[in-house]
């Protein structure tokens, strides 16, 4: 399990989630994104192309981060969901809360 943060030349922060996003590591992701928000970043993409599974705590932290980023005038987009994760977002109706693209590159281009 690992989180990577990279800022592209236009200032968009791309967060990679390798492994899983679950109750045991959600706080680490939250803190990393909140730190970047505190430092002035406003546009975020979380890339799940290397993510195996996400539990409800992981989903919850995405909801929480999205709210905090929006409160600061920013936006959080999601990318790279596999078919099972896409279904999970649809079942929980979270696909209605987030802009979701097939790849991080598509999300970057859309900002």
């Amino acid at each position: 399990m690992r989180f990577t943060l990279k800022k592209d030349k236009s200032g968009v922060v791309v967060v990679g989630v390798e492994g899983q996003l679950i109750v045991g590591n959600r706080q680490e992701l939250k803190q990393k994104v909140l730190d970047a928000l505190e430092e002035g970043s406003r546009k975020f993409i979380i890339d799940f192309s290397k993510t195996g599974y996400i539990d409800s705590s992981g989903l919850g932290v995405l909801v929480s981060l999205s709210k905090k980023i929006r409160e600061q005038g920013g936006e959080l987009r999601l990318a790279g969901l596999n078919a099972d994760l896409q279904t999970l977002f649809e079942l929980t109706k979270l696909d209605t809360l987030f802009a979701i693209t097939r790849t991080a590159e598509e999300a970057l281009a859309a900002f």
Binding site: Q20, V23, G24, V63, D84
Partner: protein, 142 residues
């Protein structure tokens, strides 16, 4: 913190310390010992792992209160075409009928409250013991 999985041809047993940080390792340990062919690799990789992480997370957070002196018990029955997982804590239990629907418009933006809903969609059968401190997840082949 170490985990010890006891394995027989038809079962597994694991005591998980009440520490949210160990949930991922416990899930991997169980999932990686499910015999090939019992469930499809995709159901092991996603459905089983996610549902077990949910059940363990709930048991540790709400059942044992993240008290490092307590444990959550995981027992797994391995059938020819099914896997049945029991997750039991020593807490007071909760009323599973009082969990709100997280997909209702006023709940969608809530941070918490999706765990049971997610579990019900990932496994073939969910049952609880009478006290509400034990959950049984059944995943079938096919």
């Amino acid at each position: 913190m170490s985990l010890r999985l006891d394995v027989t041809p038809n079962s597994m047993r694991l005591d998980v310390p009440s520490d949210l940080g160990i949930v991922g390792d416990a899930v991997e340990l169980v999932a990686s010992h499910v015999p090939p062919g019992t469930l499809s690799p995709r159901r092991i990789s996603f459905n089983l792992r996610t549902a077990l992480a949910e059940a363990l997370g709930n048991a540790i957070k709400y059942g044992t209160g993240e008290d490092p002196g307590r444990v959550v018990q995981v027992q797994v029955e391995l059938g020819r075409d099914f896997v049945r997982i029991y997750v039991v804590d020593d807490g007071r239990g909760f009323d599973t009928n009082r969990v709100p629907d997280p997909t209702l418009p006023h709940n969608v933006e809530r941070e918490f409250g999706r765990g049971l809903f997610v579990i019900r969609h990932l496994v073939d059968d969910v049952a609880f013991n009478e006290k509400g401190n034990g959950i049984c997840l059944t995943l079938r082949a096919g």
